[in-house]
């Protein structure tokens, strides 16, 4: 795996048609040169970016994901999807953090149609930041195989994450700072932990077991969990009928 000087991060970008995509067009027309690492997908609104898109990009091996939208208050739509893009970005970052992926690999920026130079600058700065992080999993010290399992587990959480957002975390503030504060508050962390974290670990365990029967100790080692945590999760899995315990071999298999 390349790192440091030779490393060329792979970036996938989701740009809203009206502002950031147009800003990228203007960078082109103005011939502002920037790092050639990004591949751009055009969407109508940054609010269209599904957390599943982000997780899938990382699963495929992208080192960074970029979301570009209109400045707050300048969304082309009455729905003002860029505010929702911000909520979604915060929640996805939390998810990434839980599975041990550096959340800074996901970046959301506002670029207006007139900010070609800003688009080029943002591209260079994000590319540089990712260069210093190395390939996905590398700076996080994650084994690629486990990383994929964890990303897959995170992917499975997304429908649930959306329901939690709808029921508990749908907010509308005016400024980015308020979003930062809210999504990093004790309350939100608590809600996220209570509603998502355990399910995420269970999902990881089940994915791990899809490759064969596992003992308590093996699960504990693979996911870096304490044996008591593993017992708790396995208890839940058993009561939900997701796994069976084989007393003879002292291990678990999928039900």
């Amino acid at each position: 795996m390349a790192s440091g000087h030779d490393f060329d991060p792979k970036i996938l970008g989701f740009l809203c048609n009206w502002c950031c995509y147009a800003g990228a067009d203007l960078a082109g027309v103005s011939r502002y040169q920037y790092a050639p690492n990004i591949r751009i997908i055009r969407l109508m609104c940054s609010g269209r970016v599904d957390p599943a898109f982000v997780i899938r990009a990382f699963f495929n091996g992208h080192d960074g994901v970029f979301i570009g939208g209109c400045w707050l208050g300048e969304c082309h739509y009455v729905t003002e999807g860029n505010y929702d893009a911000m909520s979604m970005m915060h929640l996805t970052k939390k998810l990434l953090k839980y599975i041990g992926v550096n959340p800074n690999r996901l970046r959301l920026e506002w670029v207006s149609a007139s900010e070609g130079i800003r688009f080029a600058e943002v591209m260079n700065s994000f590319t540089d930041e990712l260069k210093s992080m190395g390939h996905i999993g590398e700076s996080e010290g994650q084994d690629q195989h486990m990383l994929k399992i964890k990303l897959e587990a995170a992917g499975k959480m997304i429908p649930y994450l959306k329901l939690v957002e709808r029921e508990k975390l749908r907010v509308r503030f005016k400024t980015e700072e308020e979003y930062d504060e809210y999504f990093n508050s004790e309350d939100v962390n608590h809600v996220f932990h209570e509603l998502i974290a355990d399910k995420l670990v269970m999902s990881e365990i089940l994915l791990l077991m899809a490759r064969g029967a596992l003992s308590n100790g093996e699960i504990s080692e693979a996911l870096a969990l304490s044996p008591s945590d593993v017992s708790k999760h396995m208890g839940n899995c058993l009561s939900e009928g997701l796994v069976r315990y084989d007393p003879a071999k002292k291990n678990y298999v999928l039900a």
């Binding site: 011939r31 208050g73 009455v78 929702d84 897959e152």
Partner: protein, 554 residues
């Protein structure tokens, strides 16, 4: 380029690839449509410039080739690649190949979409019976369209009623009177006074507006609406306004001048303060009209009473355009202009000297480097133009945006200056931003023109890229409904229970609901999850053959 063409030929599903120097020329378009027919192509990808400018053109080419226009995708290898990585030729070529591959993968998932025609009701509603509203109502009526003009007050005229003349000398009251006569006499214009709009439904071409006017209910059917809701004059809280009757606003002064009221005419000294309520925290814009208004009133005062001492305390004088001449004229007539900085603004107190009550204004003079003390009999405040409450109300009812300052926000400053991004709704006048009378008139005529160009059609075409619900997947959670502020999604009863349903006419195709839906039941056509996933999965050449996350999940 040849290597990108060769590479494209080897991609899955590609049966034809060629290079073309001017892909958007008429000749090449003809060739493309011929190739579609000859080779029986069912998807077309053009790797060239940005779809933002050229997608409509190539969609036409597909139609000419006899296939659905939505079977088209564009790889932006110019603005997003060759032009921005011109010094890194190898990387740029690799990137171009990636972009083409992504487009090809996406296009394999594209579905044919149908655009549909909507009938257009040829009547219009104009909200606001001020100068802007009346001008556009007349503009439309003169072109033969029936117009309902809604005014919240008992009479027409609006804010312009309070302005006597423009700086250039146009008699606004005479103009208004003449216009009101024409409005009442025009057979195609129906005026509603004392109006409150209670409900708005429908969409471009087919709005239904319910209102109360003079105690009666009405229901109007119309195809377009022009918002000319005006603005208010800021009611100052600073400089003793409201506590001392010698402190007035420019509009109030204008009224006194018109009547040659003694209270003002007896003044020996008069001070004006500019930017009251403008260009400050919370109202960060310039009210534009007040510099001209101050100069206009100062000149009028000098005309009526040349010996009166007049001081204008300003931050930056902006008598827009040729109005600069009047600023010079005022200076030459001994109107004194004194500049102040927001950090050291004027201080006003009421004092008594030799039995004469005075307003004492202190302001640091930057030229002299000393604080000046001016005694005045009248203090005039150039109060800000502030958005009116009715603009906010209308923005909600007609689902259009306000800018951060609370003024109505047009779709595009240069390209669509009197349109909203919500179709069929137009704007003019000072609900947009503070404007001079002449600018308001031009804009009102512009809005009438835009509305007329819509109303002159018998039908309009709605985009095929809208949202759609798969009822079997819908779990009735309402995540999409609460996200859609266009009100395009509603629950309705089915045999399987309550399910979300999209009204395609109201849907604007931003796809926020799609991202909110936990079960992927609602999807934005032309940007479906699968179409995007195919792009994501093909972005890295290596990841294409591995089982992707979505397939594992499903």
């Amino acid at each position: 380029m040849p290597s990108v063409v060769d590479y494209s030929k080897g991609l899955k599903n590609v049966v034809h690839a060629e290079a073309s120097l001017f892909a958007c020329s008429t000749d090449t378009a003809k060739e493309i449509s011929n190739t579609i027919r000859k080779k029986g192509l069912n998807r077309v990808v053009v790797a060239a410039c940005t779809p933002r400018t050229h997608e409509p053109l190539f969609r036409d080419t597909l139609r000419e080739g006899g296939i659905n226009q939505y079977f088209y995708d564009m790889a932006n290898i110019r603005e997003h690649c060759s032009w921005v990585h011109s010094k890194e030729k190898d990387s740029a070529t690799l990137k171009a190949k990636d972009l083409v591959r992504m487009s090809v993968a996406r296009s394999s998932q594209l579905e044919p979409l149908k655009e549909f025609d909507l009938p257009v009701d040829k009547r219009a509603v104009v909200v606001g019976g001020g100068l802007a509203g009346m001008t556009s109502a007349l503009g439309l009526a003169r072109q033969g369209f029936e117009v309902s003009l809604l005014e919240k007050k008992p009479e027409l005229g609006g804010m312009a009623r309070r302005v006597r003349r423009t700086l250039e000398g146009m008699d606004i009251q005479a103009h208004l009177d003449e216009m009101i006569q024409k409005i009442y006499h025009h057979p195609l214009i129906h005026v509603f006074h004392d109006t409150t709009i209670t409900e708005v439904s429908g969409y471009v071409g087919n709005f239904v507006t319910r209102l109360m006017s003079e105690g009666r209910h009405f229901e109007l059917h119309h195809g377009a609406v022009i918002l000319a809701t005006g603005a208010d004059e800021y009611k100052p809280t600073e400089y003793l306004y409201g506590r001392d009757e010698r402190v007035v606003t420019q509009l109030e002064l204008e009224d006194f001048l018109d009547k040659e009221d003694k209270r003002v005419m007896d003044s020996q000294s008069l001070v004006m303060i500019q930017c009251v309520g403008s260009r400050q925290e919370g109202r960060n814009y310039c009210s534009r009209v007040c510099c001209g208004q101050a100069v206009k009133n100062a000149l009028r005062l000098k005309e009526l009473k040349p010996e009166m001492e007049i001081y204008i305390l300003y931050r930056d004088m902006r008598t827009y355009g040729f109005r600069e001449d009047f600023y010079r004229e005022a200076a030459s007539k001994d109107v004194k202009f004194i500049r102040w900085e927001p950090e050291h603004g004027p201080q006003v107190e009421s004092v008594e000297e030799d039995g004469r009550g005075l307003l004492r204004i202190r302001v640091p003079d930057q030229v002299l480097g000393k604080e000046l003390e001016i005694d005045a009999d009248t203090l005039v405040l150039s109060a800000a133009v502030v958005p009116s409450a009715s603009s906010k109300e209308m923005a909600k009812l007609f689902k259009v945006s306000l800018n951060p300052d609370g003024f109505l926000q047009e779709a595009h400053v240069k390209l669509r200056p009197v349109d909203f991004s919500a179709e069929g709704v137009f704007l003019c006048g000072i609900n947009h931003y503070p404007k001079h009378v002449t600018e308001t008139i031009s804009q009102a005529l512009g809005a009438a023109g835009r509305a007329a160009s819509l109303l002159s059609h018998d039908t309009i075409t709605a985009s095929g890229s809208v949202c759609e619900v798969d009822e079997d997947e819908c779990i009735s959670c309402g995540a999409c409904i609460s996200a859609c502020t266009y009100g395009a999604i509603e629950f309705y009863d089915t045999a399987k229970g309550k399910k979300a349903k999209v009204n395609p006419v109201l849907c604007k195709g931003d796809g926020l609901c799609n991202a909110k839906c936990p079960t992927s039941a609602i999807s934005l056509k032309h940007y479906t999850d699968d179409e995007v996933f195919y792009q994501i999965d093909s972005a890295l050449e290596a990841s294409m053959d591995e089982p992707a996350l979505g397939e594992v999940n499903r």
